[in-house]
């Protein structure tokens, strides 16, 4: 394993403080995915940061918080361990090769282990942990949760998430100008929008939205000066690369529509992200 770039290594402390942003954050995370040395460095600084966290006075949350939390568990599937990821191969979407000099290394992980069923007994968990140490483990780095979402979805989440779409998603995540934003959805759950003007694509990951049943669907929209254009349906706990071309400055919106979707929104957006 090659030594991480010194300049990037010097950012490990700031990363553990969640104090990186923009291009630096993206470059650091790309390196982090490759470098066990860097991960160890980050882990150490995270322990320090957690010490800072423990300095904050404890504060009991209101009881309603726990009740609300447990009410959401039914709609929140538990993810399998990180070593069951189908996207754990380096992938490069052909379109992203247009800027080979500035393109980042794809997020690489060693050979994926065989997918495993949902979490089992404790000893099995421990065994998995041992195995997982060999693999790119970003679980502790919650800031890359989007990557975890991106790779976990192939396992069992629904949506137009075939291999081609997965490659597009991987290319989006690796795009030099990729940006993302997570917003809460009124009614519950959250959506993350990931976009790259360079690739002209965007993707949406929905997490914990209320199930709509067979009568309605969640529909995505690209909205610009010309108004909203339909960009495809997405499930309550799913993802998709949006239909149509993305242009910087568009708003990505989400509405509830009659099953099958509409040509124009018929309801108020329940989430919107300004790119």
């Amino acid at each position: 394993m090659t030594e991480p770039d010194e300049e990037l290594r010097a950012l490990a402390a700031a990363y553990a403080l969640d104090a990186l942003d923009g291009e630096e954050l993206r470059r650091f995370e790309a390196e982090l995915a490759r470098s066990p040395e860097l991960r160890a460095e980050v882990d150490g600084f995270r322990a320090v940061a957690a010490g800072l966290g423990a300095e904050a006075p404890e504060l009991a949350p209101p009881p309603s918080l726990k009740a609300g939390l447990f009410a959401r568990l039914d709609e929140t599937p538990q993810l399998p361990p990180v070593d069951a990821e189908p996207l754990a191969e380096p992938t490069a979407f052909p379109a992203s090769a247009s800027e080979p000099d500035t393109a980042p290394e794809p997020v690489a992980a060693p050979e994926p282990a065989a997918p495993e069923p949902d979490a089992g007994p404790v000893d099995e968990l421990a065994a998995r942990r041992r195995r997982r140490r060999l693999v790119t483990t970003l679980a502790a780095a919650a800031s890359v949760a989007i990557l975890a979402i991106g790779v976990a979805i192939g396992i069992g989440w629904s949506g137009p998430n075939g291999w081609g779409a997965q490659r597009e998603l991987a290319a989006l995540e690796a795009a030099p100008d990729a940006q993302r934003q997570t917003v809460e959805v009124s009614g519950g759950g959250e959506v993350t929008v990931l976009w790259s003007a360079e690739l002209g694509r965007s993707a949406v990951m929905a997490n914990g939205l209320p199930e709509l049943g067979s009568t309605h669907d969640y529909e995505l929209w690209y909205i610009d000066e010309a108004g909203p254009a339909p960009a495809g349906l997405v499930g309550a706990n799913s993802w998709r690369v949006l239909e149509g071309d993305f242009v910087d400055g568009m708003v990505v919106g989400l509405t509830v529509e009659p099953a099958g979707g509409s040509e124009q929104p018929t309801t108020e957006p329940i989430a919107a992200v300004q790119t």
């Binding site: 150490g44 504060l59 209101p62 538990q78 708003v251």
Partner: protein
């Protein structure tokens, strides 16, 4: 060390936080409930400190525990204590909230699209509040004031390096150095080995 000390292991025969995590990973809601009861005040305390606003802090805290529920099988005890992992998630989510609130405040969403992000607070006001209520540990006391300020702005206010540089009207390189040196010093003082 750090987080482990506060894991509350072994006291009065209660299952350790690690065990509760493992059971949570297996879908055990009772274990998850106990995990919540024992760790929520710590998580909520941190999130509230960063966000100040109680309603936002409650939302983020709930999201943190939902993430724990989702990701419990991915927690790797070999890489740190469970409580430290929790606080890592909590910090990340609180910072994301701070930044998205700021970002949305700077953006003018087009007519017809309802703004759904949580309203941004007055950032300057939050700075003063958190400096006022700052409690620093003995180790923090060993740092230079410049280092301490940079660390506090990063960790407790969720500012990025470049935001700190802007706020303090310092070159970015200076801020980077202060954060890094401060963290290295803390790592040494707290006896963390990586």
């Amino acid at each position: 060390m750090l987080g482990r000390v506060s894991d509350g292991e072994g006291s009065s025969g209660e299952p350790s936080i690690d065990v509760l995590f493992a059971r949570t990973a297996g879908g055990d809601r009772a274990a998850f409930g106990e995990l919540y009861d024992r760790t929520a005040p710590r998580v909520f305390g941190l999130v509230r400190r960063i966000l100040v606003d109680a309603a936002q802090a409650e939302e983020v805290t709930q999201d943190v525990f939902l993430e724990v529920w989702q990701q419990a099988a991915r927690f790797d005890a070999s890489r740190g204590a469970a409580v430290a992992w929790l606080l890592t998630i909590a910090h990340r989510r609180a910072v994301d909230r701070v930044r998205s609130a700021q970002a949305s405040a700077e953006r003018d969403l087009r007519a017809g699209i309802r703004e759904l992000a949580t309203p941004a607070e007055d950032v300057e006001e939050r700075v003063e509040l958190s400096v006022e209520h700052e409690r620093v540990s003995a180790a923090l006391g060993e740092l230079s004031e410049a280092q301490r300020t940079a660390l506090a702005m990063a960790y407790y206010e969720g500012k990025s390096q470049s935001e700190i540089a802007d706020a303090l009207e310092l070159p970015l390189g200076t801020v980077k150095t202060r954060l890094r040196d401060g963290m290295i010093r803390l790592r040494h003082l707290l006896g963390v080995t990586s």
